[in-house]
């Protein structure tokens, strides 16, 4: 355990399958810890973790906080609404403050792509990207991959369909990088206005036909569609989006076969996914949440470079 070290987790792009496997294996161990009566280990005792949330995200923040506490880390929280981050303080000031406070690990969620890279270039602390704009969200993709692996046993040769607004999705990008590295075939499906140009160059296929995509895949990862896309003129309406790309029981019955259904949350029920699909057979949406804590524990543990064993 803990053979592989990494200084930061800025994205899954470029991360080797060995490192991803190491993280997933540690996450399995932490999943066991989480099922104990006292789900806490002293692995990060004395380690200070700062959660910097420049963009509100209740789910990801709580998941990280829980992971940190389960590891016995000292935790400090900065959120955009509560701190000086809102009052004209720049990200460079933030970087300098982190340096001055001698924080060991920084978890950053930011609306601007590349902000975790900006910090990583300027601080000694280990930086974990908790989502940067429409760029990457590596821990989300890791928990998605963990969820798939737990369900299927093996990743190689699997077929994953990512459905929805690919252009604005950090979840899609990180999943594409991570899944391809693990030998998974990836296809994306969505309206042409929400598929970014030249995305085939990443090594994936594109379809605009939901049933064709469903027929092809073993797993479908449904992304959240934002109402703003309608006002930006990228889709005519959520209604029309639902008509072509909303995942319903009907679709699944028509193509047949067992599909694993995923969603990073929060869901727009009745828009990108129907309730009877989200809560129905094949859905692993709630296990994703549980795995999120375990994966984040694994990342924090490995990145901190601590040698203690989990047991």
């Amino acid at each position: 355990m803990n053979k592989i070290r990494f200084n930061h987790l800025l994205g899954l792009e470029g991360l080797s399958s060995e490192v991803i496997t190491e993280i997933l294996d540690s996450a399995e161990a932490f999943l066991k810890v989480l099922s104990r009566p006292i789900p806490r280990v002293p692995s990060l005792r004395g380690v200070t973790v700062a959660n910097l949330f420049f963009e509100s995200s209740t789910r990801t923040r709580i998941s990280f906080e829980l992971a940190e506490k389960r590891l016995s880390a000292d935790v400090v929280n900065f959120t955009a609404s509560s701190s000086s981050m809102n009052k004209g303080e720049t990200i460079l000031d933030t970087a300098r403050n982190i340096e001055a406070m001698k924080v060991d690990v920084v978890v950053i969620r930011h609306f601007a792509q590349g902000s975790p890279h900006f910090l990583a270039d300027r601080v000694n602390a280990a930086v974990i990207n908790a989502g940067d704009g429409s760029h990457e969200h590596p821990t989300q993709a890791l928990l998605d991959i963990m969820t798939i692996r737990r369900k299927t046993g093996d990743l190689k040769g699997l077929k994953v369909l990512i459905l929805g607004d690919i252009a604005h999705s950090r979840v899609a990008r990180s999943n594409i990088y991570g899944l391809l590295t693990m030998g998974v075939n990836v296809k994306i499906c969505g309206p042409s206005t929400l598929i970014p140009r030249e995305i085939e160059s990443m090594g994936i296929e594109v379809t605009h036909d939901l049933e064709e995509g469903l027929d092809w895949c073993d797993v479908v990862n449904v992304l959240r569609i934002q109402l703003e896309r309608q006002n930006e003129g990228l889709i005519p309406s959520l209604r029309e989006y639902q008509r072509s790309f909303g995942l319903t029981r009907n679709h699944l019955e028509r193509v047949g076969g067992e599909k694993i259904i995923m969603h990073p949350g929060p869901m727009n029920r009745g828009v990108e996914i129907d309730s009877d699909v989200a809560d129905g057979p094949g859905s692993v949406i709630l296990s994703q949440v549980t795995h999120g804590v375990a994966v984040r524990m694994a990342v924090l543990y490995l990145i901190s470079g601590r040698e203690q064993s989990i047991e």
């Binding site: 792009e13 720049t90 990200i91 460079l92 930011h110 601007a112 792509q113 590349g114 902000s115 890279h117 900006f118 704009g133 429409s134 760029h135 990457e136 604005h168 950090r170 990008r173 970014p196 140009r197 030249e198 995305i199 160059s201 990443m202």
Partner: protein
């Protein structure tokens, strides 16, 4: 800051020295003046700021002698697209610091763009800027705004500006959005033989874009600024130039398709010229990978294929001019989230070294074509008289050591700003002297 102008006589950049032009000889220097097909080694004798003789100094000649055996002397370089930020943004650059940067980069003339605050849209401001450059061997020829206050509504008083010597107009930083206004601007300037230099961008296609739209922007999840956003605007502007007969100069072209539009327009006899920057000639969008905002420019860095096409277009003369689009920004403005950073990089102090190292020494561009694109070509677009290396002419020269190897160090720049991605790059070929307006500034030998 309402500081009273306490400007003293400008001194040469650090490590440079001022010489008298009363009686000076550059001994055994390689003279290159492509406009008159001149390429020969000789002694160049200057008296009272005038080229007295090209030949050989005689024994007992009693002027100052500078050894030119390692140097090239060419007509003074001219950069027709710089942002000197004065008035309004003096924390980024001033005429004073910009002229120092220009001189150390080998330029004897620059054309600052009018996207200042207030905008340069009247003769008073034009004259103030020109006067601030007095005492430098660098002429400042402001480009004036097409529209009042660069607001894209009413034309500036172009006739009066022409009377003060302005022959190029631009709202650079922004395009002229309304096609009819561009039509009128071309018609009106054409009455005076003046030129419109246009930052060609269809803002509806580039809104929010921060880098070239393609495989790299898709990977990085950054909003794209597609090539079509430039090409549609150039196409429109070229058609309006054809329709009106007006003179159009396309600023900083960045894509292969833009080049094709210009090639076709020239073939059809339309009055159009074009410029390209050293960065669009040498850098591509894959460099954005690390989110370094020093690579964030407008128009954005394009693909490798575009870069190669632009190099060819410059070599064959389809692109007339090399201009830097020198765009200084303070460190705290650039050192922010990538999507928030302002566009632009500085270029005056690296242009010659970059073009020489990356294009001339690699055989992609002849040294004659480089000199032409940095001297006579921009002066022609600017409506300025030609500069020749000829007895009886004013000495307006750039001295250049083609073999000097140096490392770009932003901390040694004369510019007030440091926003360059070329920091740390090893270059071969460096400007070592400028001679103009009776002033002689020459870099000390290492």
């Amino acid at each position: 800051m309402n500081k009273i102008n306490t400007q003293t006589q400008p001194q040469p950049p650090k490590g440079w020295r001022s010489y008298s032009s009363d009686k000076l000889a550059l001994r055994n220097v390689l003279l290159i003046d492509p406009a008159q097909n001149l390429k020969k080694r000789a002694d160049l004798i200057i008296e009272n700021g005038i080229i007295q003789q090209i030949g050989e100094i005689t024994d007992g000649w009693d002027g100052e002698i500078i050894d030119g055996s390692k140097l090239i002397a060419c007509p003074g370089l001219f950069d027709m697209h710089v942002h000197l930020r004065e008035p309004g943004y003096e924390h980024k650059e001033t005429i004073y610091s910009g002229c120092h940067a220009a001189a150390s980069g080998g330029f004897t003339g620059v054309a600052p763009m009018p996207n200042t605050d207030p905008a340069i849209d009247n003769p008073g401001l034009v004259n103030i800027l020109r006067e601030k450059a007095v005492g430098f061997p660098v002429e400042v020829h402001p480009i004036a705004a097409i529209t009042l206050g660069r607001k894209g509504k009413n034309l500036s008083e172009i006739g009066e500006l022409v009377d003060t010597g302005v022959m190029v107009f631009s709202d650079d930083g922004s395009p002229i959005v309304i096609a009819d206004l561009m039509r009128r601007a071309l018609e009106y300037t054409n009455m005076f033989g003046a030129t419109i230099s246009e930052h060609s961008e269809d803002a509806s296609l580039t809104m929010g874009g921060v880098m070239h739209e393609g495989a790299v922007s898709t990977r990085l999840g950054l909003p794209g600024w597609p090539g079509i956003g430039e090409e549609i605007a150039i196409d429109r502007n070229v058609r309006l130039a054809e329709f009106t007969g007006g003179k159009l100069h396309i600023a900083h072209i960045s894509t292969a398709a833009s080049l094709e539009i210009i090639r076709r327009a020239k073939k059809n006899g339309i009055n159009v010229t074009a410029e390209v920057t050293p960065h669009h000639l040498t850098l591509d969008c894959s460099l954005l990978d690390g989110f370094d905002s020093n690579y964030k420019v407008n128009p954005p860095l394009r693909t490798k294929e575009d870069v190669i096409a632009l190099q060819e277009g410059l070599a064959d003369g389809s692109i007339d001019v090399i201009a830097t689009d020198h765009a200084p920004h303070a460190p705290d403005e650039k050192e922010v989230e990538f999507i928030k950073a302002p566009f632009g990089m500085i270029g005056l102090e690296t242009a010659l070294g970059i073009i020489h190292s990356k294009l001339v020494l690699t055989g992609k561009l002849t040294i004659e074509r480089m000199i032409e694109a940095m001297t006579s070509a921009p002066r022609k677009v600017m409506g300025l008289s030609d500069v020749s290396i000829k007895a009886g002419e004013t000495a307006n020269l750039t001295l250049f050591n083609p073999d000097e190897k140096w490392r770009v160090d932003r901390d040694l720049f004369n510019s007030k700003s440091k926003n360059t991605p070329f920091h740390g790059m090893e270059l071969t070929g460096r400007a070592v002297g400028v001679i103009n307006r009776g002033l002689v500034w020459i870099k000390d030998e290492k």
